[in-house]
C-alpha cells in the first residue's frame, strides 16, 4: 500500500498566553483526499491549533509544513495566499450582496482591456458564469447567481461560503464548526457539500463538536487534549462513546485498542 501523501503537517507547536499554555508541543497531520475531523473539549487547544494552521495566530515554537515545505503565516491573508481557505461558523457572507459578489469578494475579476484597466470595471458576467460553475461542481442547485445571499436559507448561505472556499483553495480547506449555526436538514446539506469538496481533491480539516456529523463524514479523527494530539482515531472502528472518553481523558491513549487507531 502506497504511503499516504501528507498535505499539511505541524510538529511540536507551542503557544502560550501569559501563564496559560494553549498548545504544548502539538502535532498535526493532514493527508491528501481525506476529511480529518479535529475534536477536543474546551481548553484542549483545538481552536488554537486551527488558528495556527489558518494564520490567525503565530505559534511560539514548532513548525508547520505545507506539502513538505515549511511555512510561516503572519496573518490569515498569508494562509489564503498559500492556498488554504477557511469556512467559519458565523456565515461570513455579506447578506445584501449577490452570490456571485460574495464568491468573488476580495478577488474580483475585472473586464479585459481598457475598460478593466482604466475604468476598473468588473466583469460581472464572467464572475456570474464562474460562480455558477463552482456551485454546479458542488451540485448546489441554485439557479441564479444574482440573488442576494440573504434570500437564501442558512444552509444555502453556508453552501455559498463552502463553494467560495472550494473555488479558491489550492491545498486545504479548513471548516470551523460549519454546521453549528444550522438546523438538522441544512446541516446535512452542508455535510454533503463537504464530501463533494473532498471528492474534488481538496483535503478538509473539519472542527466540530457534533459527534454524529463527525462520524458521518470524517475519514480520520484527530483528538486534541491538554494542548497536544492525544490520538488519531478510525471512526469506522471506534464507537462514539469511546471517542468521547478519549476526548475527556476517561480513556487513556495507551488503552485504545490498536484497530481503533487510524493508520
Amino acid at each position: 500500500m502506497a504511503a499516504p501523501q501528507i498535505v499539511m503537517q505541524a510538529k511540536g507547536l507551542v503557544k502560550r498566553y501569559g501563564h496559560v499554555t494553549a498548545l504544548e508541543g502539538a502535532d498535526f497531520e493532514l493527508r491528501a483526499g481525506e476529511i480529518l475531523a479535529v475534536i477536543g473539549d474546551n481548553g484542549a487547544g483545538k481552536s488554537t491549533l486551527i488558528k495556527a494552521l489558518s494564520g490567525a495566530i503565530v505559534p511560539d515554537e514548532g513548525e508547520i509544513l505545507l506539502d513538505g515545505q515549511p511555512v510561516h503565516f503572519k496573518s490569515p491573508i498569508d494562509a489564503r495566499r498559500a492556498g488554504i481557505e477557511t469556512v467559519y461558523q458565523e456565515l461570513a457572507v455579506a447578506p445584501a450582496m449577490t452570490i456571485a459578489e460574495n464568491l468573488f469578494l476580495g478577488r474580483e475579476i475585472r473586464k479585459p482591456g481598457w475598460r478593466g484597466r482604466w475604468l476598473r470595471m468588473l466583469d460581472k458576467k464572467r464572475m456570474a458564469e464562474e460562480s455558477n460553475r463552482h456551485m454546479q461542481d458542488l451540485k448546489i442547485g441554485i439557479r441564479s447567481m444574482s440573488v442576494p445571499v440573504e434570500s437564501l436559507s442558512g444552509g444555502q448561505r453556508q453552501g455559498v461560503a463552502v463553494a467560495r472556499s472550494a473555488a479558491f483553495a489550492r491545498h486545504v480547506v479548513i471548516m470551523d464548526e460549519p454546521t453549528a449555526a444550522l438546523g438538522v436538514k441544512e446541516g446535512n446539506m452542508v455535510l454533503e457539500l463537504i464530501r463533494r469538496v473532498r471528492d474534488r481533491g481538496l483535503p478538509v480539516v473539519l472542527i466540530s463538536h457534533n459527534m454524529p456529523h463527525v462520524f458521518e463524514i470524517a475519514d480520520r479523527i484527530h483528538v486534541a487534549r491538554l494542548g497536544k494530539r492525544a490520538a488519531v482515531l478510525n471512526p469506522k472502528k471506534i464507537s462514539m462513546s469511546d471517542t468521547v472518553a478519549v476526548m475527556t481523558g476517561a480513556m487513556r491513549p495507551e488503552d485504545i485498542p490498536p484497530e481503533c487507531l487510524a493508520h
Binding site: I77, L91, M121
Partner: protein
C-alpha cells in the same frame, strides 16, 4: 442529494406577500415619490413645470446634493457624518478668504478650501478607524470644532467681492430657452461618476461589503480599515466641492452656511432609500432625496403655503422612507 432553492423562512403570510410585492425598494420608491410630488405641484400651479423653474430647483439643491454624495458613502459603511455642513462652511470661508484677503489665484484658493475639508475628512476617518470611536461621536465633535474655527477665522463676517472666476459655477448657459447653471452640471457629473464607481468597480463594491458585514469582508482579505478611511477622506473632498458650489451660488463666503445642510444631507440620503444600517442603497437615491426636499420647498412657496408645512412633509416622508426600507428587508434580518 440535490440541494434545491429552499423556501424562505416561514413567517407571516401577509408579510410574505408584501415582501414579494415590494422588492428591495432601491431607488424606485423614492423616485416615484418625487414623480408624484411633481405631478401634484404641476397640477396646483402652472409655473412649476417650466424649464426655468425646474432648473432653479436643481440649483437650489446642488449644495446639499453634493454633500449628500459624501454622506451616502459614509452611511453605506454603516457610519454617519454629523459634521458635513460645518466642514463645508469652513471650506467656503477658507477659499473665499484666501482669494480675497490673501490674494491667491482662484484655483489655488479653491484647492486650499477643498484641502481643508479633506483634512477634516481624514481626521474623522482616523478617529473612526485608528482610535476606534463611533462615527456619531467623532463627527459630533468635529462638527463643533469646524463651526468654531469657521466663526473665529471669519470673525463671523461674510466674505464678499469674490473674483468672478470663483463664482463661475453659479453662472448659467442656455439649453433652448432654459438657463442651466454650470454647477448643476457638475453635481450631475459627480453623481454619475460616483454611481458608476459604486456599481462597477471592486473598490465601490467593497464599500457596500464593509457596510453590510464588516467582519466577513475582513475575513476575505479586504483591508476594511483602509476602505473606511478612504470613504471619510473622499467625503471630505466632496464637502469641499459643495463649498465651492455654495460660494458660487450665493456669491459670498458665509460662515453661517451649512447649518441646516447637516441634517438636510442625511435626510436626502435616507429619503433616497439608503439604509442607515449600511450596505444597502444607491447614491442616485440621495439625488432623488435632495430633489424631493427641494421640490416641496419650491412647490409650496409657489402655492403660497407656509414653509412650516414643508418641514412637516419632510418629516413624514423620512418616516415613510425608513419604514419602507425596514419592511422590505425585515424578512432577511
Amino acid at each position: 442529494m440535490a440541494i434545491t432553492t429552499a423556501t424562505p423562512h416561514a413567517g407571516n403570510r401577509t408579510m410574505e406577500s408584501l415582501k414579494h410585492k415590494l422588492p428591495p425598494i432601491g431607488v424606485l420608491g423614492p423616485f416615484f415619490a418625487l414623480l408624484a410630488a411633481c405631478v401634484f405641484f404641476a397640477a396646483q400651479t402652472d409655473t412649476f413645470l417650466t424649464g426655468g423653474n425646474l432648473s432653479l430647483v436643481l440649483q437650489q439643491v446642488m449644495v446639499v446634493g453634493v454633500i449628500a454624495i459624501g454622506q451616502t458613502l459614509i452611511i453605506l459603511t454603516a457610519g454617519i457624518d454629523l459634521s458635513c455642513g460645518m466642514v463645508m462652511a469652513l471650506g467656503g470661508i477658507v477659499m473665499s478668504k484666501f482669494a480675497v484677503e490673501l490674494g491667491l489665484p482662484v484655483p489655488v484658493a479653491i484647492v486650499c478650501g477643498i484641502g481643508v475639508t479633506t483634512l477634516f475628512g481624514l481626521a474623522n476617518g482616523l478617529l473612526v478607524t485608528r482610535v476606534g470611536l463611533p462615527p456619531f461621536i467623532v463627527t459630533l465633535g468635529t462638527l463643533n470644532i469646524a463651526f468654531a474655527i469657521t466663526q473665529l477665522y471669519s470673525h463671523s463676517q461674510t466674505v464678499s467681492d469674490l473674483p468672478d472666476a470663483m463664482t463661475w459655477l453659479g453662472t448659467t448657459f442656455g439649453i433652448g430657452s432654459t438657463q442651466v447653471a454650470f454647477g448643476t452640471v457638475l453635481m450631475l457629473l459627480l453623481y454619475g461618476i460616483v454611481w458608476f464607481a459604486l456599481k462597477e468597480t471592486a473598490r465601490g463594491r467593497h464599500v457596500y461589503a464593509v457596510g453590510n458585514n464588516k467582519e466577513a469582508t475582513r475575513l476575505t482579505g479586504i483591508p476594511t480599515q483602509r476602505v473606511l478611511l478612504g470613504v471619510y477622506v473622499l467625503a471630505g473632498a466632496f464637502y469641499g466641492l459643495a463649498s465651492l458650489l455654495s460660494v458660487s451660488r450665493t456669491g459670498v463666503g458665509d460662515p453661517n452656511a451649512g447649518q441646516t445642510e447637516n441634517l438636510d444631507a442625511i435626510t436626502a440620503v435616507v429619503l433616497g432609500g439608503t439604509s442607515l444600517f449600511g450596505g444597502r442603497g444607491s447614491v442616485l437615491g440621495s439625488l432623488v432625496g435632495a430633489l424631493i426636499v427641494g421640490v416641496f420647498r419650491n412647490g409650496l412657496t409657489l402655492m403660497g403655503v407656509s414653509s412650516v408645512y414643508q418641514i412637516l412633509v419632510t418629516g413624514i416622508l423620512v418616516i415613510l422612507a425608513v419604514a419602507a426600507d425596514q419592511l422590505s428587508h425585515r424578512k432577511e434580518r
